[in-house]
Symmetry: C2
Subunit: 260 residues, 2 copies
């Protein structure tokens, strides 16, 4: 565990960017300075509403948020999960009014940053610009993988794949252990992520549990044999575009609270 995580609670963005870029201490200091938690949200509280014009950029510091759309007669499709270190809308200025919603899933803290401060940052430091760009491109890549999953995988593999992803993504920001991580998703939420009904989610989770692939307890996911679960759902990390694998340490999870 290196110096970046030494202080009381590391900035998840900085942790994440270790896997997409090589930043020096100066870069990290700039990021830490710009992206600090400055708002706490209740579960279900909106961060961005469809039709809103961008006001600034939001970064999740702690907790989960999610992106969603309402189609047809009120059915909700969840388009992405935003974990600590993820941007909600880095690029929204260019697009105009948002075409979807973003809301807090759990209680969470976010950083609100004015667009011009981002612009100044990336203008000044092209390595940082590239790092942030990497982050948004990974988000898009995840979206493609979700689409492929939705189109081609059966419900059980889809859930398993999602769990593999969430375990790994949380490991990247030091929020998960080797084999378990927070999983604050209700079954109705899972249903809207996977495009199936909550009833079916329940059935499939039972099957996965009984197959010994996963354990769920206290809103946490435990995976007894990560290799086996990955195998089951054909999980391949390449869509996350990591330049290095996460250390295999049994990391802090839930988020680090210990002081030095």
């Amino acid at each position: 565990m290196d110096a970046t995580v030494a202080h009381h609670r590391a900035n998840p963005l900085i942790l994440k960017l270790r896997y997409g870029a090589d930043l020096d201490a100066g870069d990290r200091a700039l990021l830490a300075d710009l992206f600090r938690a400055d708002r706490v949200l209740e579960p279900q509280q909106d961060i961005v509403r469809a039709g809103d014009r961008a006001t600034g950029v939001h970064l999740v510091i702690e907790g989960f948020a999610f992106r969603y759309k309402i189609v047809g007669d009120g059915q909700r499709q969840i388009l992405g999960l935003l974990l600590p270190g993820d941007f909600c809308d880095l690029q929204s200025v260019v697009l105009g009014p948002s075409d979807h919603y973003i809301a807090a899933l759990t209680a969470c803290t976010v950083a609100d940053v004015a667009q011009d401060r981002i612009d100044a940052l990336v203008f000044r430091d092209s390595r940082l610009a590239r790092a942030l760009w990497w982050a948004t491109l990974v988000d898009e890549s995840i979206l493609r993988e979700w689409l492929a999953s939705m189109g081609q995988r059966s419900a059980d593999k889809r859930i398993a794949h999602l769990f593999c992803e969430l375990l790994l993504r949380q490991q990247l920001v030091g929020a998960a252990g080797k084999r378990d991580c927070p999983l604050p998703l209700t079954q109705p939420m899972l249903a809207d992520i996977l495009g199936i009904t909550t009833i079916h989610v329940s059935r499939v989770l039972r099957d996965l549990r009984m197959a010994g692939l996963i354990q769920l307890k206290d809103r946490r996911l435990h995976v007894p044999d990560v290799r086996r679960l990955r195998n089951f759902c054909d999980f391949d990390t390449s869509y996350l575009h990591l330049v290095r694998e996460p250390d295999d340490q049994d990391a802090a999870s839930p988020p680090i609270r210990a002081r030095p």
Copy 2:
């Protein structure tokens, strides 16, 4: 029909960007100069292969291309259709090896541009930078809409929605009329876009035809009543983030060949 389309064949990128940015004649000249057709591809020929490192940037000038992934035991999911004016991989340098394939769907012509020429362009002209950025963000937005469609819409509405999108997107680049457009997609292709079997595609197309919603002939789509089709599948253009609606002209389709 304005001056941009006056010459023998307008650059589809320039046409498309009319809907996302305000470019002046100088901007357009730069684009036209940079993105000119310089390669012809056979149907099914690869443009980008998964695992490839980026060599440059590719823009579709004419014809259709498509993005796809292979999941599990060889099932293909098509992740996006690339129409004239669409970039294949504007940003691939940052991400490293591609995690998916891009191939020509029909015979098509593409522009190959070295990354540094793009960089020089966007560095020099921030309005153009913003315009290109808009284009990539719209692509991502389309991806989200596809995901929502896959998760929440039934097969018939999914096809209808896709057809609405393809009609409109081709109108943006002057490749479609008010109510019809090229549709060079076989049923196996449609199946891999929609995540259903070709057999089911055949049945659903029959139903849509018999409901009078669409007509298919000679690899073209004809929509007798666009409003009705849009209504049927809950099509809302906002995810395409157009700053203006396409003119209601009965535009050139197939691509303009007439000389002034």
